[in-house]
């Protein structure tokens, strides 16, 4: 029976770093919008009762779904409930899926409705317009660059330029990953949601735009601000805080 044999080592919580194993059946470069061949195949497999295909998307998509649901509901447990209810709705509704959006976008749309409704019954205050985001201004301290009037205005000052994080900088040590996780938690909500969906969960840009109702340009702004902030926190960890020459 397809899907009956489960690989416990994966879903017992072992970190799966391979993007393609996170999102089985849907290539990361697949654009949403009209359903593409690979995804039509996935939809067909689900409709044909392919349990492995179902388990694959449940494992692959649920982490990001929990993150999105958590925006609307009061607890992690409620978010898990919303995700579970969403999958039940998908099981019931897959035969009615029209393919006007990608399957994943459709699933997240169902999730948003369920989580929003659940959040309302929990009297959870929905996130209001994000005034705290600081979505403008430079992402790197201007004091690290040569001032206006300098021949190389806007170039890095030699003493403030980024330094190598050392020979092992291609991958972070365990302590640096703790720093990264903490820095992620401190980001303004919209930036955090975008960078989590894009870089932690690996969703493509256009699907993140759909899920969070962002324009492509705005999505990139939030993503860049989040990444720049996280890089800066790692830099502080590796090379110490950067000391600007003159503080106004």
């Amino acid at each position: 029976m397809p899907g009956a044999v489960l690989d416990r080592t994966i879903w017992a919580g072992v970190v799966v770093t391979e993007r393609s194993s996170r999102y089985p059946g849907v290539g990361m470069d697949v654009q949403s919008g009209p359903v593409e061949a690979g995804e039509q195949n996935l939809v067909d497999r689900l409709r044909a009762g392919d349990g492995a295909a179902f388990t694959g998307i449940v494992r692959g998509w649920s982490p990001a779904m929990i993150k999105v649901a958590r925006q609307y509901v009061a607890s992690h447990a409620s978010a898990e409930e919303a995700v579970q209810e969403t999958w039940l709705a998908v099981i019931k509704g897959i035969d009615r899926f029209q393919g006007r959006s990608s399957l994943r976008t459709w699933v997240f749309h169902i999730l948003a409705n369920i989580a929003r409704r659940q959040g309302t019954t929990e009297s959870r205050t929905l996130p209001t317009s994000p005034v705290d985001d600081a979505d403008s201004g430079p992402t790197v301290d201007p004091n690290r660059f040569r001032p206006v009037g300098d021949r190389w205005a806007g170039g890095w000052r030699a003493e403030a330029a980024p330094q190598s994080w050392g020979p092992e900088s291609a991958t972070l040590n365990a302590e640096a990953r703790v720093v990264l996780t903490a820095a992620l938690a401190e980001l303004p909500q919209r930036q955090r949601m975008v960078v989590e969906l894009r870089d932690v969960h690996g969703l493509p840009a256009d699907e993140v735009c759909g899920i969070l109702a962002l324009s492509p340009a705005n999505q990139r702004v939030l993503l860049h601000r989040a990444r720049a902030k996280l890089r800066e926190q790692l830099e502080t960890y590796y090379t110490g805080p950067n000391e600007p020459a003159v503080r106004p």
């Binding site: 397809p2 044909a48 009762g49 898990e80 019931k92 330029a161």
Partner: protein, 84 residues
């Protein structure tokens, strides 16, 4: 050759657009040219890539195992395997 000088302070703000392929070809060429001979910006970009890569390896909390098993059972009930 590749247009006027693009200062580092500007380049660092373009790097996500650069990685996303969202810059127009002329600006992409200017960023490429800048990175070609700017070591600090190249370092900055490498560190941004490291940050992105590491984010992709952070643990992702998922559904409890018994929830997944219950969902699989619900799926089998409504969609009994056929045709394969």
């Amino acid at each position: 050759m590749t247009g006027d000088y693009l200062p580092c302070a500007h380049v660092v703000e373009l790097l996500t657009d650069y990685l996303e392929g969202a810059l127009d070809p002329a600006t992409t060429a200017r960023v490429d040219a800048h990175l070609f001979d700017c070591e600090p910006c190249t370092t900055y970009l490498a560190q941004l890539r490291t940050t992105i890569t590491e984010l992709g390896t952070l643990p992702e909390p998922t559904l409890p195992a018994d929830t997944v098993i219950a969902l699989e059972a619900a799926f089998r009930d409504l969609h009994p395997p056929h045709g394969h």
